[in-house]
Assembly symmetry: C2
Homo-oligomer: 420 residues x 2
């Protein structure tokens, strides 16, 4: 695959869906000015030479359609609002290959402009200098497979439920059932970090005892993503504890810690970082505002995320399948020619083996974590049969055999089809 | 003033504007479940006892009105969408007084639920445990006044323009004019951090030489907020350089670094932290989604922000005045009875002395930074006259004297009225 996010010319490129009540070309120039050397009025020091060197440039402006009302309030009043695809570019000299300053540049004040009645960041293309400056995922797909002991096929995973409310010992009991059933991957809920009722350290110790005992018996250690979300010192301490206990993964909620937090954790970490996107809805749920997943996940991959949540096909949330597929493909797409920095997409939410074949077809492979809750725990034969049925569904997907046909030779899958 | 953000009962409270195609009570329960012990289906371990202890609680649900179409796509289809004010509460035992985990709890997956066709976080009330655990602003209003040498009245400020494109020497030349004119406060643009064309260290050295020389002459040192936005190590190094050079303020873009980043910087910093909200538009511009400013600024104040941007009255962006006023009042409102943790609101964007009286009336005082660009630089008498005119406008506001009347005795103000 060719690099999906590499700039063609050494400048930073960002593409937007823009809706404006102004003349689109003028609106594009205002946005470019606000995000570089300009301001609302002419400034003495903004010479033509300075503007040519430091100003953002309108690279592309294509009108898509029009509307007679604005998508978002507060913008300039107009009889007609034009929707376009706008691409801006910036010289790297303005910001350097700095992820936090990239965010200020491509997703700063511009959303508040009066010329804007809709603005959504669709795409980013970055100079290779970012590949050199950003750490990227330390483990990625290969490192995750190695630590989880899963050479081929997806990692079959699940989430500890109830998400909140179990004690450390109860959490460990739940994990015992799961690892005894042969699961590859278990994660904490995004809400379960270090509440007084289930302190992190106690939970990690209790869970890793179970995981280590099971690994001694089976020869393969399930990967448990411990939610270490907290301030930086807490995240480092919790990471160190997980590492000392023989754990193989830590998890953080990206929107809760921010990019400087992830960069600092990445610098310290010796384990894969499982990245949850809790809060993604407030960044994306309005089609006229915010972020597409492709540019958003790129930032976090560059900052060091090894696994990135992408929801799941036929999920229980509001996201349509085509959006889920685009998100997963973005996570797997090479960022730069010389530094692919791919992460592992994590599919979850209402998942069963029924989604194996369409998920396989959508991403073109098995480099993913497929997390199912009820899809495994609800199996009449228990967890072991539930995990087996998920694997059988993926075997069928990889072989291109219909589930019902594959189920004839596989009892666990056959039983699963009754409740999936 | 009574505390604006203190919980009445030791639980975490969050209020939302909710739009749902479902029965509102059912939607509220689904949201409460998703954000605590529940999931899409009943789970064996979710006992009534666990649910009573760990479940989020619907505290209030008031129907506001109805709509025949959803504000946001992707939710359940319905003939009628109900808008309500919903208040949920959580036991502190679920999360502890942790700001990052608070964000996951009150602003996590819930925005993506199918039951939601609109969701906006309006308000937060936190147990006093957060006051004990969170650092809060180290300097706040009093510390900022002391360092800036401004005992009463607003800090009159400005932003270096052009925002991007000046060299370190050119930046220092601009600052020289400003401090010679008697300005109290100067800030870097949010886009100007450490680009190769204007490296941070060179800029800080050049600017502080100018500032220190002027302070030796005048006996008062202008406060310059240096934009140190970057990864954590960079922010710490840049902070240390500013401190070593005799500087009195550092600045960060909150959405570019995140809460764990600000908490770590706050732990290290010995200077006030000037907090820019670049990107606020993507969090707030859709009325049916995202964040109100009151809960958002609370998180950053608790994490250590000393100054918080609130836009300005009659600003050049899309935000209406009532929203600006509510934001500024929230920044000044005491968070907890025993720990007010107030920050200093920063007014900017198209500001002149014309906004002095309405701003004064709106916030009920002068504990603020009033940043004007053209409103100062455009004065026919130069920067010094521009700064004087701004101060005269504020004197008039505090005395309740109309500008035109006050201008009769104040030549700089008189001249300014011609171009404001």
């Amino acid at each position: 695959m060719t690099a999906r996010f590499e700039s063609p010319d050494g400048r930073v490129h960002a593409s937007y869906w823009l809706e404006t009540g102004d003349d689109p070309q003028r609106a594009a120039e205002v946005i470019a000015g606000e995000q570089s050397s300009g301001t609302f009025t002419a400034v003495p020091g903004e010479t033509p030479e300075l503007k040519a060197r430091a100003g953002a440039r309108v690279e592309q402006l294509e009108v898509i359609d029009h509307s007679d009302r604005p998508s978002l309030p507060g913008g300039m009043v107009s009889a007609r609002y034009t929707r376009c695809r706008l691409t801006l570019s910036w010289p790297l000299d303005n910001l350097g290959p700095s992820l936090p300053n990239l965010v200020s540049t491509v997703a700063g004040n511009l959303f508040e402009l009066r010329q804007v009645s809709g603005l959504r960041l669709l795409d980013l293309r970055l100079p290779a200098a970012f590949a050199a400056a950003a750490p990227g995922p330390a483990f990625g797909i290969a490192g995750t497979r190695r630590l989880a002991g899963v050479a081929t096929g997806p990692l079959i995973g699940t989430i500890v439920k109830p998400s909140v409310g179990l004690s450390p010992a109860q959490t460990a009991d739940t994990v015992r059932l799961l690892v005894a059933g042969g699961i590859d991957f278990v994660k904490d809920d995004e809400l379960q970090a270090d509440g007084p009722h289930c302190p992190f350290d106690q939970r990690a110790r209790a869970v890793m005892q179970v995981v280590n005992e099971a690994a001694e018996r089976s020869g393969r250690k399930a990967m448990v993503a411990f939610n270490i979300t907290g301030d930086l010192d807490e995240m480092r301490q919790r990471h160190d504890l997980v590492l000392a206990l023989g754990g193989t993964c830590v998890m953080v909620n990206l929107n809760s810690i921010g990019i400087a937090g992830l960069l600092a954790l990445r610098k310290h970490a010796q384990l894969p970082i499982h990245a949850h996107r809790a809060g993604w809805g407030y960044l994306s749920r309005s089609p006229a505002l915010g972020w597409d997943y492709a540019p958003w996940q790129l930032l976090w991959r560059l900052a060091g995320a090894d696994h990135l949540h992408v929801n799941g096909l036929a999920n229980k949330f509001s996201e349509p399948d085509e959006s889920v597929i685009a998100a997963a493909r973005a996570v797997l797409a090479p960022a730069f020619d010389d530094h692919p920095m791919a992460a592992m997409p994590v599919f979850s939410s209402g998942q069963t083996g029924l989604q194996a074949a369409p998920t396989h077809a959508a991403v073109g492979g098995c480099d993913l974590i497929h997390a199912a809750g009820g899809g495994i725990l609800g199996h009449p034969g228990g967890v072991k049969a539930g995990v087996a049925a998920m694997r059988q569904a993926w075997d069928a997907a990889q072989s291109g055999v219909p589930l019902a046909e594959h189920a004839r030779q596989h009892a666990e899958l056959q039983a699963a089809l009754g409740f999936w």
